[in-house]
Symmetry: C2
Subunit: 371 residues, 2 copies
Amino acid sequence: MTKETALKRTHHDFINLMPLQTGGILTDAAKEALVEFGDGYSVCDFCQGVLCQITNPPIADFVSKSLPEFLGCDVATITYGARDAKFMVMHSLMKPGDSIVVDGNRHYSTIVAAERAGLNVIEVPNSGPPEFWIDVNKYIPLIEQHKPEAMLLTYPDGNYGNLPDAKRLGEIAKEYDTPYILNGAYSVGRLPVNMDELGADFIVGSGHKSMASAAPSGVLGMRKKWENIVLRKSAKYPKKDIELIGCTLRGTVMATLIASFPYVKERVNHWDEQVQKAQWFSSELEKLGFQQMGEKPHRHDLIYFESPSLYDISKHIRERGYFLYRELKGRKIWGPQPGLTKHFKISTFAASRDELAFVIDSFKDIINKYG
Amino acid sequence: MTKETALKRTHHDFINLMPLQTGGILTDAAKEALVEFGDGYSVCDFCQGVLCQITNPPIADFVSKSLPEFLGCDVATITYGARDAKFMVMHSLMKPGDSIVVDGNRHYSTIVAAERAGLNVIEVPNSGPPEFWIDVNKYIPLIEQHKPEAMLLTYPDGNYGNLPDAKRLGEIAKEYDTPYILNGAYSVGRLPVNMDELGADFIVGSGHKSMASAAPSGVLGMRKKWENIVLRKSAKYPKKDIELIGCTLRGTVMATLIASFPYVKERVNHWDEQVQKAQWFSSELEKLGFQQMGEKPHRHDLIYFESPSLYDISKHIRERGYFLYRELKGRKIWGPQPGLTKHFKISTFAASRDELAFVIDSFKDIINKYG
């Protein structure tokens, strides 16, 4: 067997705390769909020319009914991921040299998507440590100064798991008549989020980050008024979306998105339990001397900790920061980035209370062992 | 079980002749990898910030060594598919209003990608029926007249399976100093194709169409001189590709591409057998009164037939053109688009000679039954 064909992951049965991964673990239904539609282009068996109108598998129903209802928007479509949805909107609404105001906690892909679209990016700074809070009222002076063609808010951000006041920004967007993109890569599929209620013009979600789907996959919802701009059709091929270059998820990732959807739709109703779990976990780790950064009390499973005690240990041992990764791996815990000890990010979304209790005990043991 | 979770294909064991699907059927290794890396973002377990530099799974080796060697190019990267690769190149090299000369047999996505990039498209007409041949020398007057910023050739096209003289166009590209994009969605992974030998600047391939991979997936190769333009990095995030918005195939489709690669690399060496099979199949169907369109003798597994005898039958029965689909389905043959009888496209790539003999006999039976 060659190197290429021996493609294995060694931590399937680990407790997964990796922020990128906890919301994208497949359901059993998605695992079945993944295999069923594994061969390239197999969701296109009965295609009549438009991916989003395929009825078998039921893509059309999912895109035209389930998704708009779930996202609280008028019109939805499918993308390769949140970053691609952001670029689609930027590229449709704006031209090179135009300006966009974004939160300082934005994902790097917001900046790179804007660069690809040739935009001028203005950032609303966060409040700095320890909360790194985005006060959305700070968009106002920047809107007045720069007259941006659009604005974007990350809800929550992927570093601190802060949930800024998206609804207040909706009011500001209305007052200043500025199109408002909500990046819900870490909210859509985890917690209830409704574009219309928040007053946004666009909502972006990630299948692999938060909708229990394989990668790459994403969703984009919008108000009806933007449909003819973002979902404009080709002059020569009137059924084909220009921004999607015809079709996007023409394969098995599409099937996983649909297969997991009933579960995802249900799980957002249990978000309060997720928040309680995250808060409890955070308070327990703080008892060990770690300091939780970001909003407090915390309202999301993404949590950022400063951990000076672990960093102190790393300075005195030969393998430096990797000791933490090795110790956690030995306990079948997967998450903090290998080598990091000064601070780390984790997500409590996929782990049970019992598993998290074991994680807390493990941190205790590790500190005691080296401390 | 809800409709969404009952996602099944009913023709797994059929003889597959569907042009979109025959080159994208997964290998056993790819099926395993698909499941292994099914959870969203699981190829990113050990990511240090750049998808194409991940060493476990061995993405870095695949992208920086295996692919350039296979494609005959200096530098390669991964894309969501051939259409996305075409857009990347167009968007990097050209600005709205610029011109591109393309062959008249180009895929619709070439036109839509160019529309997305705001380009003026000039088409080199084909010779019309029955051959629909693209004479690449006809690019010359259009290049002289329009001074295009780039040109593109589809090799082969997806309708007739014609393989135009890509090497001659390489000479023309050199003579007129015009960047040359070769769309190999139906060649890369099926037959030996070498960008450098053909004199192209870019080569585009499709994972799900021709590299035994799940969708969406694709590859892009280029000459070194274009690396700093097409693979330019973000000013703010110097490791991140602008045109890839950081990363593309951050999931299990990437794993299928790698897992199938040893097989794909080997199978292109047997292309002459594929051509012989296609020619034999074509001549047998012509004996039944069908007429093969496109190049003759045919040099690709994609074949377009006109079938007036089937169309005549369809005019006299209640279910019209669907009788053919039903008859073939009853014989476990999957391919021609439901409803079509006047003409149809098929691919002989995935079927054995015995299976194709059964297909030929089936067409005979159907004609006799209704004729």
